[in-house]
């Protein structure tokens, strides 16, 4: 039945978006993770990617969370000579995480998640309507 394919597609969307939320939360949680040794690199921001993937069993296009990429932009430098991770010049590298960017990303993930939930609700209602034919 096609409706179950629809539910599977929407579920793949939910899975992809929750995976995206996981990566965003990882970024936000590590926004101030300084390097473990002096002069080393701190946490690098991660970027989730999405791929349309053909599910052979279902014969439909589902969405999958692709390979997680890293943000190659430069780190924030702060002058903190007393910091245990400071390099020879007294600078500490902070992660290239921009909380504002992460928040916008989070909103977008939330919105997409809700859209998929709505598809599931609509599909369930349609299945219910079909079953209601029997009751009449």
């Amino acid at each position: 039945m096609d409706f179950f394919k629809t539910l599977a597609i929407a579920a793949s969307g939910l899975r992809a978006q929750s995976g995206r939320m996981r990566i965003i939360s990882e970024n936000i949680a590590n926004a101030d993770s300084t390097p473990s040794s002096p002069g080393a690199d701190p946490y690098r921001r991660k970027i989730p990617t999405f791929e349309a993937e053909f599910d052979r069993a279902l014969d439909v296009n589902v969405v999958e969370l692709g390979k997680v990429q890293t943000d190659t932009s430069s780190f924030r430098l702060k002058y903190e000579p007393g910091h245990p991770s400071a390099d020879a010049n007294g600078n500490v590298k902070y992660p290239n995480v921009n909380p504002l960017l992460e928040m916008t990303d989070m909103r977008e993930a939330q919105r997409s998640y809700e859209a998929n939930i709505n598809v599931i609700t609509a599909t369930r209602r349609m299945i219910q309507r079909t079953i209601d034919i029997l009751k009449a």
């Binding site: 096609d2 539910l7 793949s12 995206r20 999405f50 969405v63 349609m126 079909t130």
Partner: protein
């Protein structure tokens, strides 16, 4: 004459299948609303002047022979009878994604309402037979 040969019921059934198929396509669009280079698709509108002509032969094909062949080639849906088309007239994001989430949600809601209308008519048609049988 089987109950499936009744034109109104077979037409309504075709419409229900179309609705199912459309939900699937719309779910694909919404699940892939963040996938790069993904184009939104939609089903071509159902034209009843064509399907009405096709419907009698389609119904008479459903015989014992057909069922022995297995259900995969089967009678219902699986997208063979309905054509999907891409609508390229909407804005494309820098990632190459061309899914308008709001528009897709509107389509899902409209599709659900149409589906409810069709199931309601189906129920009414069945009660018509019950009246003819003298049950009410």
């Amino acid at each position: 004459m089987g109950i499936t040969d009744v034109p109104i019921l077979s037409m309504l059934r075709t419409r229900l299948q179309w609705g199912q198929e459309r939900t699937r396509v719309l779910a694909e669009n919404i699940a892939n609303s963040d996938t790069p280079n993904f184009q939104a698709r939609d089903l071509a509108p159902l034209k009843f002047d064509e399907t009405a002509q096709r419907a009698p032969s389609l119904v008479s094909n459903v015989s014992l022979v057909r069922t022995e062949d297995g259900h995969i080639a089967g009678t219902m849906g699986s997208g063979s009878g309905f054509e999907s088309k891409t609508n390229g007239n909407y804005d494309v994001r820098p990632t190459g994604n061309a899914v308008n989430l709001e528009q897709e949600m509107m389509k899902v809601a409209a599709n659900q309402m149409d589906y409810q209308a069709v199931t309601a008519i189906y129920t009414r048609s069945l009660s018509l037979f019950k009246t003819a049988l003298g049950k009410r």
